[in-house]
């Protein structure tokens, strides 16, 4: 195989198309670069990947045939980390799955297999933290509004959980860091984006004129409960921060004065 540099658009389909191109052109790229990123100065052969949903679909179909659902889920989860340094390990992971016998995904001595596996674990951890620390404020129109800034792009992994749990209530899940979220109207969730200058997007708090009349009372109740349940003789702020990192406190009712 010749070597070179692949430039792709940073999407999952783009990634799969890059794999397709590598096989069809018989080129093993040394590096995978996202459009707009700095190219290495010594780049000689540069191939621009034209994202093609047909080609991507064929690669995906091949993957579903070779990988168990657990490994597939780990692969997509690791991509949702949005970490550019994971692009190459994910690319090589997919290539290795195609050129080797089945079961390769469990070879944790292979740095690519291990890094996809452990990145997926981190992404799932972040997803779990959204399930833990999402807080809803009730608006006057009955919609429950929740906003967070997760480290990885995990909202898509959480929406089914919330739509099942709160099937009879309208709610908004919003990822402020990525500027998108979901609105669930009691039937199905749809993806939405909201203007950044809305005050409840910029501050994370509903203004009192659009807040349900009981909202403040229940926030007060929760704060009171949170204080009362701690045992003074066992104070352990270090463990509290370990299990509930400070970066989440901004949107936690019980951690605001």
């Amino acid at each position: 195989m010749k070597s070179g540099i692949f430039v792709f658009d940073g999407t999952w389909e783009g990634m799969l198309t890059a794999v397709f191109d590598a096989f069809s052109m018989k080129i093993q790229p040394q590096e995978l670069v996202r459009i707009g990123a700095q190219l290495p100065i010594f780049a000689d052969t540069i191939h621009e990947v034209q994202t093609d949903s047909g080609h991507a679909g064929r690669v995906w179909k091949g993957l579903t045939a070779k990988l168990q659902s657990e490994a597939l889920a780990a692969l997509t989860a690791s991509f949702l980390s949005e970490l550019e340094e994971m692009d190459m390990p994910i690319f090589r992971y997919i290539v290795k799955v195609f050129i080797s016998q089945s079961g390769i995904e469990r070879d944790f001595t292979d740095p690519d297999m291990l890094s996809v596996f452990s990145t997926a674990r981190k992404v799932r951890g972040e997803k779990h933290r959204v399930l833990q620390f999402m807080r809803f404020q009730k608006a006057a129109d009955g919609t429950y509004f929740g906003i967070m800034e997760p480290l990885y792009n995990v909202m898509p992994l959480t929406v089914a959980h919330f739509a099942d749990r709160f099937a009879d209530q309208k709610f908004i899940l919003y990822d402020k860091r990525r500027g998108f979220g979901y609105y669930y109207d009691g039937d199905r969730p749809v993806e939405i984006t909201m203007p950044e200058n809305l005050s409840h997007i910029s501050t994370g708090k509903l203004d009192s004129d659009i807040m349900d009349s009981d909202e403040r009372l229940f926030q007060q109740m929760w704060k009171t409960y949170f204080k009362a349940i701690a045992i003074k003789e066992r104070m352990n702020p270090r463990k509290q921060r370990q299990d509930m990192p400070v970066r989440f406190w901004k949107y936690l009712v019980e951690k605001q004065d």
Binding site: G103, I104, R106, D107, F108, T109, D110, P111, L114, H128, L131, Q132, F133, M134, R135, F136, Q137, K138, Y144, G146, H161, D164, R165, F166, A167, D168, Q169, D214, L217, F218, Q220, M221, W222, T224, Y225, F226, K227, A228, I229, A230, I231, K232, E233, R234, M235, N236, P237, R238, K239, Q240, Q242, D243, M244, L252, V253, E254
Partner: protein, 425 residues
Amino acid sequence: MTEQTLEKLRILAESAKYDVSCSSSGTVRRNSGGGVGNTVGGVGICHSFADDGRCISLLKVMLTNVCMYDCAYCINRRSNDIPRATLSVTELVELTMEFYRRNYIEGLFLSSGVVRNPDYTMERLVRVAKDLRTIHRFNGYIHLKSIPGASRELVSEAGRYADRMSVNIEIPNEQSLKYLAPEKDFESVYRPMGYIRQGVLESAEDRRKYRKAPRFVPAGQSTQMIVGASPERDRDILRLSSALYGTPTMRRVYYSGYVAVNTYDTRLPMLKQPPLVREHRLYQADWLLRFYNFKVDEIVDDSYPDLDLELDPKTGWALRHPELFPVDVNRADYEMILRIPGIGVKSAMLIINARRFRRLTSDHLRRMGVVMKRARYFITCGELQSACVADVSPEYVRRQLTAPSQRHLRKGAVHPDQLTLDFGS
């Protein structure tokens, strides 16, 4: 819902906080019929962590903290002069629903002081659970305390609505229990435990015949023991835990380091600090029983009646058995790999999967998350052998592992005994 409810909530949460159970695990239930809520199974969800570092998963509260009993170790004993309050069933149901809809909690953990008689109290707990399930179609988690002395009929009804039920043993020895809580004995604890167990087993039998037969306490039962309020050794506590885990429906035993709440009572020890390190070691030992296939006699026995406060119980066991080491990580079976100090369930799984592809080196192990600082004395992987516990001595390894690390010495502020591990969810 008013300011008054808020004050009641404060009082009743204060009264409930010494019960350590917090888990919302053990049941998977999807939402159904346009209701509210589901339970996720697996590890459950902790929604917050209080200032004492303990997880908040369920709204843990008492219906009332008025109690006719006078147990020495309990903050709510009738002879204590503390503010008393009672929530109405409607208030508590509304509070649960409102908290749940805001994603503050996974559900409700309801307990109560005993008023008038056990059945009267139990009946009101059941009312709360029933209203939540039937009127509000609540599918979240419900943990109900079974009141000692409540009738079988009420326990059976409670079990249809609750995910988990519990009866606390509190004191791990019957003589000590009678001494500290003259109105209780083991019979009053074991009888309701028996009702719950029977209910679960009967329902399992019914469900084999009729798929749609109602579930009964699907997450099983749990219990709690107070540690350090009475003279029992760790051996006595863990033997009791192990016996309880041997019964079909017992899922969790919690250990609660005694907090000196009633300092005036001379039957209780004067403790300045709750025995947190001992409690932590007991949880580690409990984990060995449940997930690492240890037998209780391997952890504590008559010659080692107490857990080592300086070392985790697995390392303690390994140092008492240097003849079993080193273990070859490339060949040993899963059971034995689990027993190596520094290797947990997750890294053991990675090891047995990865070693089918090539020989593992210490570098692989480190990357897979093995704590080499501990594991290095107990393993071999075909490389140059570092000092194995069988060649040097258990005493030497012990000194190495218990010496305070440089980092701790430099920081100064953090005591190496400071707890950082989770005690369960």
